[in-house]
Every structure is written in C-alpha cells, then in structure tokens.
Amino acid sequence: MSTPTTAPAPADATTQAGAADWAGGHEFSLDAAWTLNPQVALRPERFGALAYHFGTRRLSFLKSPHLLTVVERLADHPTARAACLDAGLDAAQTATFGKALATLARTDMIVPRNPA
C-alpha cells in the first residue's frame, strides 16, 4: 500500500501535478476529459462531500459543495476546465480547484476519459 504524498500541489494548477505516486494514480490536466472513478462513491454533506474509493479503501473529504458539483459534472464536459466553468467558477477559482482535482486524480478518485 502506498503512502500519501506530502508534496503540496503545484501553485499553478494548469501544470501537471507531480508524477503519480500511487499505483493507479493519474497525472491531471484541466484541459483533459475526466470522470469519477466508478469505484468511488460520493456522499453529499453540508461542507461538501465524502468520497470513498472501494478499491484503495481511501476516504477523502471534498471541503466545498462546489467541488462536489465540479466532480459530479466532469463526465458531462470535454475538459475539467469546462466543468469548472459550468459550475460558475472564475479563472482564479478554477486554478484553486484544479489543485484539488489533481489530488483526486493522483489518488485515482477521478480517472481520464475519452473525450468522445
């Protein structure tokens, strides 16, 4: 079992996060197509949501209802950036959310998807 990273996400969320440090992790790009991993379940909460990965048995807390919205809409958009836009985020917020999405990708919570 891998151990979690302590490396902070890159300041510029449009750059790719550090190399995947989990087996099954993915390098994130805001300009690629993503979707929630089918092995992950979301439980909405006041603060955002719990996200649980049944395969890695990893629990994450999404600490913003908007992040939940973005994650839920990833599959409906050609890029993660478009999903952020659809959720009403501006460019600065999209950069912030990109860091969170990069962590979710690195931990296999969200996975790349064919844009078609």
Binding site: T6, R57, R58, L59, H66, A92, A100
Partner: protein
C-alpha cells in the same frame, strides 16, 4: 513484570479503531491515509474562495456538530473469542445468546448502505468464529459497505488468505502486542504470537500487501517499536499503533500495562520520526503537549462521526466506552440504527459544544482537548478534566487524589474466567437484584409462564425475582455528559 497472569488474548483495543490521516492537502480537499482510511481527515481548514461560495467551517467544526450518518463505525460481531487478552476492551470470551442473527446483521448492513456508511471496522470478540462471518462480509461488500476486520489470525489459513487477497473491498488487521513471543503472549496468551505470525505469513504468501499489523502500545512493548516496524515491513504490512485504554478488562490491567511518562515521550518521538508510514487511529492526540500535534483531526468522533455497534445490537458512542453511560440505543428498536444515530439523546448531547472544564486554562487544550472520554471515565476521573495520561502530569495528580473513589466497571462482561459464583453475581447485578450469601439457596423462580424476563433464558438468574433492588443508577456519580471536556479523536 508482575501481577498479570498470562492468559490468552482477543483482538485488543485494536479491534476497534480508526486510523489517522496524514496528508496535508490543498484547501479544498482532505485525504485519509490509505487503506482502512478512517474517519479522520487532515485538519486543514476549508477555505472556499470567491463571493458565490458559501463559507463552510473547518472540518473539525463540521464533525463536532455531528453528521447525519457516521463516517465509519466499529461493529463487534460477537463476544465470543478463543483468546482472553488481559486488556480486551470488550471483555470478550463467551458468546452472548442475544447476539444479532444473520438476518438482523444483514438488516443493519442494508441500513448502512442506505445511509452511505462506506465502511465498517469489524471486530469482536474474534469475529471470524461466527459461522456466518464470511457470509456477512460478502453481503456487506456486495452492498457498498467496505470491511476491515480485526483478528487474532487463528482462522487465517492459506485458503482464507487467498480469498482475502482476491478481494479489493476487504482489509485485514492482525493484532499483535509484542514483537517477541514473550512480550506478546504475556498479554494475549500462550501461542498467540505464533498464531499471528503464521497468519501474516499466509497473507504475505497470498500476495495480500498492505494489510494492517495492529499493536496496542504498552509499558512492555514501547521499547520494541523498531522491531514491530521490521515485522510489518517483512510481511508487507502497514504498522498501526494504538493507545491502551482502561476499558473492558483493560480497566483491571491498565495500572500495570499503560506506558510510563518517559515511555510516552519515547513513543511520541518515534511517531514524529515515522509519522508518514505508521497509522495510529488518531489515538495519541493526548501526547500533543510534547510539541507539535500528531497528524489527525484532534477531535473525538464519538457519537458525532463514529460509534460502536456491539454484538447484541447496542449502540455506544465509541468502542472504548461499553458502559450504560455511553449507550445510545439498540439497532433492534423501531427506528433501527438510523433512529439511534439521528435521535438518541446521548448522541445529540455529544454534538453540542463541550466545556473544557479544568483544562480550560491549558495552552495545549486546542491540541489535546482534554484527552479521551473513555480513559477518563474508566479511571474514575472527572469528564471535564485532564486525561489520566496527560503529559503535563495533571492526570497523574488526579489519580493520586482520587483514592478509593468508585471506579466504573464495564456494563458488559463476557470473560470466560469467571467462577460460577462470579457469574451469578454479575447476572444479579445486571438485573438489579442482590444475591443471598454464598451457600444459601437462590430465590424461587417466579415467572411461571416460562417467558424469559430478558432476551436470554440461558442466564442462571433469568426468571428469578428477588427482594432487594439495587439502584443501578447509583453507579458512577457522573451527570451524563454534563460539562464533559470532550476529547478528541475519531476512533471507529
């Protein structure tokens, strides 16, 4: 080592708890430590930005006031155990005839699925001795309830290990309380070291990497932390260290087994040095006054985001608090588990802000929050004061002053090592009646209809009524939860 006789062992306090999280995250996300992820997110605060984003309190604040469903919970499936560890927090040994049936357990799992409780930590007793254990594990994982179970390893043979290795949704935790047979078997009983090592060998051979090796830290094994780490590494396991609690039979052995003050510092330093690799169930927050807080939420999740379901369906605030004071209800009641979780008076009180009491003026209160509720309760200390193992020594002072004050006993005791007379006395106490002196005849059975007066007719005192009624409420003079300086930790 002195007074504790070697007996056999149960999955100790480890049967029950949660792991801490360790990943510092960006503002919008907190991620738990890998597998067997537990209730604790890292204590970073949410910082939503932008005008249209509704401000949300910190995760700690959110969790303090409770969630509509637990993040995870501990579920002890049986009080039966083939071992008899001297520190067993649930005083396990004999099965309780009132234990939930297979159908009732599946009903609980259905509820957990509806409530989106994503995983349970199954313990006991030794859960694998239940005939329907694997059926229940399979049922849970088929219903989106992941399982981590604690075991002494006695049923983990090569075939079981293969099956476990093939399942993503099941995690295993092997209990071991000494890095040598001498130290382990002193607490867990003769042969239990070899049993655990053999089980880990099977898991390794089956290719199950990342299972947990779970250790309760004691005075006798604090010096073996490096050896434990080496054992875990050898078997491809992840080491998990948790705190010894004075719960269950642990109440009787805590004085002898709990780490000495200088050992606490040794443990703290070791945890700081190995923090990223070792799980702790977030159970050592009371050591925070040595310096920086250890990773974790520094929050007691009891009744707020975690709880315990015991083998007979009783719901307690946490696995270390099997006592009427912390009993919220039973899953067999009309509203089921959800009703207990959402409406029990006890849990609603726990979700209110708690007073820091005597710890209010302490600079470290924000880190340790007065320590562990159960540790205070079962050592007879006030709930709104310091932990008995407060590293500033305040708990020790109180323990000295406490003298012969009444110390609460667990409400349940399924230990095997009771004499017939002791069992009778225990059963009488549970029913609020007083036994005649030894040698005199027992009272006459009054219930002619043959209907058990409790769910269990097996008990030697079922059906008897006697004169003197002992006031059960006379137990600990603790006004339920009044002024609890509530502890901090998510154990589940």
């Amino acid at each position: 080592m002195s007074t504790v006789l070697p007996r056999a062992g149960v999955p100790g306090p480890t049967a029950a708890s949660a792991t801490s999280t360790r990943t510092p995250m960006d503002d919008l996300l907190a991620t738990s430590a890998a597998a067997s992820a537990h209730a604790t997110g890292h204590a970073t605060t949410a910082a939503p930005t932008g005008a249209q984003m509704r401000p949300v309190g910190s995760l700690v604040d959110e969790f303090q006031s409770g969630l509509d469903a637990p993040i995870c919970l501990t579920w002890e499936l049986t009080y039966a155990c083939n071992l008899a560890c001297v520190h067993c927090l649930s005083s396990s040994g004999r099965r309780d005839p009132r234990e939930l049936s297979t159908a009732e357990c599946k009903g609980v799992i259905d509820e957990l699925q509806r409530m989106q409780v994503f995983y349970v930590n199954i313990g006991g007793g030794e859960p694998t001795v239940r005939k329907d254990f694997w059926e229940l594990v399979d049922y849970a994982t088929a219903h989106q309830v992941g399982v981590k179970f604690s075991t002494n390893g006695s049923r983990i043979d090569a075939a079981v290990a293969e099956k476990l290795a093939a399942s993503d949704y099941v995690d295993v935790q092997i209990s071991l309380d000494g890095a040598t047979a001498e130290v382990n078997d002193y607490v867990r009983g003769p042969g239990s070291y070899d049993t655990a090592m053999t089980a880990m060998g099977h898991l390794k051979d089956a290719g199950f990497s990342g299972f947990k090796l779970s250790v309760v830290c004691t005075r006798q094994n604090i010096g073996q932390l490096d050896e434990f780490k080496a054992i875990a590494d050898h078997y491809g396991a992840q080491l998990r260290l948790t705190r010894l609690r004075p719960s269950g039979r642990g109440a009787d052995t805590w004085d002898e087994l709990h780490p000495l003050p200088e050992q606490q510092k040794e443990l703290y330093d070791w945890l700081v040095a190995h923090g990223e690799d070792v799980l702790t169930g977030d159970s050592f927050f009371h050591l925070a006054a040595y310096g920086d807080a250890l990773p974790g939420l520094n929050l007691c999740g009891a009744g707020r985001v975690v709880c315990l379901i015991d083998p007979i369906g009783d719901v307690y605030a946490c696995p270390f608090a099997i006592h009427d004071e912390f009993l919220a209800g039973n899953v067999r009641s009309e509203g089921g588990f959800q009703g207990v979780w959402q409406t029990s008076e006890l849990f609603l009180e726990l979700r209110e802000p708690q007073s820091a009491g005597a710890c209010n003026s302490c600079d470290f209160f924000d880190k340790c929050r007065g320590g562990c509720m159960a540790a205070k309760f079962f050592t007879g200390l006030p709930m709104d004061g310091p932990d008995p193992e407060c590293v500033l020594g305040h708990g020790e002072e109180l323990l000295k002053q406490r003298g012969d004050a009444f110390i609460p006993k667990p409400s349940m005791d399924h230990s095997k090592n009771l004499s017939k007379r002791q069992r009778l006395e225990k059963a009488a106490a549970e029913r609020g009646i007083t036994l005649p002196p030894e040698g005199q005849p027992l009272p006459v059975r009054q219930n002619g209809a043959g209907i058990p007066d409790k769910a269990c007719d097996e008990n030697p005192l079922a059906g008897f009524g006697t004169a003197e009624v002992v006031d059960r409420g006379a137990s600990p003079s603790v006004d339920r939860l009044a002024g609890l300086g509530f502890p901090s930790r998510l154990e589940g």
